[in-house]
């Protein structure tokens, strides 16, 4: 199909045009050899594939050592040990010799039997390691059919198209000199997204319907700035993207040069620009993109990596490390936001309406043990730097009063135990439920600050489920109703001397920045790679004109009107943004 445009989530802001290469996670059934050699031939084949796999993993390890985290290297270590494991190799060999299986069959069958063995292990942290075994088994299988894998390396400008990629597969891409990555699954904080960004590979993830639209060999555009994928573009579209790519590169290098300048408007209004962080490996981006501390530290990943609750010490060390690293800038730690779309494995319960259900602070208050462990760890870490505490999914004033009561108890405990902590730690509420906006003056009496999470606020204000294709078109954080809710909150907060941050998707939406300035937000927190361009816009505006723009926008009645108007206004002031703002017709 000509010029097919599909949208996804942009994760690595660059553009590339190349040839699609479908990376299928080949099942062993697919690679099972058609013709079987004699026993010695099969064992020789296996040994060849094993050596090749070892070579690949070792060079992958060298490559991964360049990343700011050691986690992927550890994954590779386990796989290398498997390829050298006498028990593993003997089991495969035994199958070939005694059961007359081909090399492929023996690996496939061994993986199957290991799978059921691992499933019996009650500790899911250990049983989850089957994925590592499968990863290495799949590699062996692919290398046994080696014609397939070599194809990947041919030619230039290969764009990998996949359902999803494992972290090691993503890292492998950098060795294979892959030019771009598009996946059907995955989000902004998936490993693919983070590694792709660290390696500067243009990528779009979460592109639904992708695999139905693309075939190997198709020409494909990956726009990691706007999150657009174009399959078999026509000449005109191609030219526009080539232009956009050139310009975007130039502008981004320009932005990056000024990343450490403060975000101050022409008439002296200053905003803190902080980073949204979830995984430890993202910490390197704080410095790279010139963030002033962390405006949103998500903590769910600590809970997702295992079924067991991470203990106080593990959490304390993690929070302390970040606090020290960012000091004297602050780190806002959001307590666990489980439920909704982020279901906690150990506590998962089916709910008819999870987004209106048992999530965020509601979950935390009814699991006080888990909540207290986290609060203790955060409070203790507050002595190592500048930490602030943020509570998610608040909808009632009473909830914040209850949180304060629990905190008082914990502080008393810590004093008795002789632990030091910040006695005046700031405590904030996420503004995600419209009730908080409407009662902001009451909330202001029980919080030190507000942090507006526009993704959920938009969803609750418009009653639109972002994940539901049939209605997701109605979702836009520039909807005038959402802006009005934000305005109410900020006015009431400032009236009561409380500061307000914004940490949702709107903070990285460049056309929204003048409006956020006009609303006089005190802080913006966003995915780090967007920081340089956001700063650039703030530095090129005055508060006065931002307020005028906001006033004009308040007369609009739809998000479409607001977006169109802001795009034009922004282009008038920043003609160099033209190519970043380039949209393709739907």
């Amino acid at each position: 199909m000509k010029n097919k445009i599909i949208r996804g989530i942009p994760v690595s802001p660059a553009i590339v045009i190349g040839r699609a290469f479908l990376h299928s996670q080949k099942d062993a059934a697919f690679t099972r050899s058609k013709k079987k050699g004699n026993i010695d031939e099969e064992i020789f084949k296996l040994e060849k594939a094993r050596k090749k796999s070892l070579r690949q993993l070792r060079s992958l390890k060298t490559e991964l050592k360049k990343l700011p985290t050691s986690e992927p290297v550890r994954l590779i270590d386990v796989q290398i040990l498997f390829l050298q494991d006498p028990l593993f190799l003997n089991s495969v060999e035994k199958r070939i010799r005694n059961n007359q299986e081909s090399a492929e069959e023996s690996i496939f069958n061994l993986l199957e039997s290991l799978k059921s063995d691992f499933e019996e292990i009650p500790n899911s942290y250990i049983s989850g390691r089957y994925l590592d075994v499968k990863d290495v088994g799949d590699r062996l299988l692919r290398n046994l059919n080696d014609e397939e894998i070599e194809m990947e390396l041919e030619g230039r400008n290969n764009i990998i198209v996949a359902n999803r990629l494992s972290p090691t597969e993503t890292a492998q891409m950098s060795i294979d000199k892959v030019s771009g990555i598009v996946t059907e699954r995955g989000g902004k904080t998936s490993h693919t997204a983070i590694i792709a960004e660290a390696l500067n590979i243009p990528a779009v993830v979460g592109v639904s319907g992708l695999l139905n639209e693309v075939e190997s060999g198709d020409e494909i555009i990956v726009d990691g700035i706007s999150g657009i994928v174009v399959v078999n573009p026509d000449e005109n579209t191609k030219r526009r993207f080539e232009q956009k790519e050139k310009e975007a590169k130039k502008i981004q290098q320009e932005f990056l040069k000024h990343k450490d300048l403060p975000a101050i408007t022409l008439d002296g209004y200053s905003i803190d620009i902080c980073a949204n962080i979830e995984l430890p490996m993202e910490l390197a981006f704080i410095e790279k993109y010139g963030a002033k501390g962390v405006g949103l530290l998500r903590t769910e990943f600590l809970y997702f990596t295992s079924d067991s609750i991470p203990d106080e010490e593990v959490q304390y060390r993690f929070y302390s490390k970040i606090a020290k690293m960012c000091s004297p800038d602050y780190v806002i730690v959001r307590t666990l936001d489980l439920g909704g779309d982020k279901v906690f494995k150990a506590k998962a319960k089916e709910e008819a309406n999870p987004f209106l259900g048992w999530r965020g602070i509601r979950f935390a208050l009814s699991n006080e043990g888990i909540f207290k462990t986290q609060l203790r760890a955060i409070l203790r870490a507050s002595s190592m730097g500048n930490i602030r505490l943020l509570i998610p999914m608040v909808s009632q004033v009473e909830e914040m009063i209850e949180v304060r009561r629990i905190l008082e108890d914990i502080m008393e405990e810590l004093r008795k135990e002789g632990h030091s902590f910040d006695e005046n730690i700031e405590i904030g509420a996420m503004v995600e439920v419209p009730s908080v906006c409407l009662l902001a003056d009451h909330f202001a009496k029980v919080v030190d600050f507000f942090s507006i999470g526009t993704n959920d606020l938009t969803q609750y204000a418009l009653a639109v489920d972002r994940g539901n294709k049939r209605v997701s078109g109605l979702y836009d954080h520039l909807d005038p109703s959402v802006l009005k809710l934000m305005k109410m909150t900020i006015e009431q907060a400032h009236h009561n001397n409380r500061w307000v941050g914004v940490c949702g998707g709107i903070a990285a939406d460049i056309v929204a920045i003048p409006l956020l300035v006009g609303l006089e937000v005190d802080e913006l927190s966003l995915p780090p790679s967007y920081i340089p361009q956001v700063k650039n816009v703030i530095r090129g505006l005055s508060l006065k004109e931002a307020k005028e723009l906001l006033e004009q926008v308040e007369n609009k009645e739809s998000a479409i009107e607001v977006r169109e108007f802001m795009r034009n206004e922004l282009l008038k002031r920043f003609p160099s943004l033209k190519n970043i703002l380039l949209e393709v017709e739907k």
Partner: protein, 89 residues
């Protein structure tokens, strides 16, 4: 032959990273080294074996070695498990 008991101290148990540390350490010794838990015996130089032992915090395993460096092997493995807690705490 020489053997000692070791109690798992790190909170996540012997998952992938500790398992690879243990296997790498064990492989430095000439002796045959085995781990035992609940009547299951595995080769300490096999990552598959060590993972399948599924040792969790608080559980005890027996470390057994035979060969000319058996004593040294046992001591360093027990130290890794109990004292160093796999460098995780």
């Amino acid at each position: 032959m020489f053997q000692k008991k070791a109690k798992i101290m790190n909170s996540l148990g012997i998952h992938a990273r500790p398992a690879s540390m243990l296997v790498k350490l064990a492989s430095n010794f000439e002796s045959t080294i085995e781990l035992e838990k609940d009547d299951i015996h595995v080769n300490a130089k096999s990552i598959m074996g060590v993972l399948m032992l599924a040792s969790e915090k608080g559980q005890e395993i027996i470390v057994r070695a035979s060969g000319k460096d058996e004593k040294e092997a046992i001591d360093s493995i027990v130290e890794l498990i109990e004292k160093r807690k796999f460098d995780e705490e």
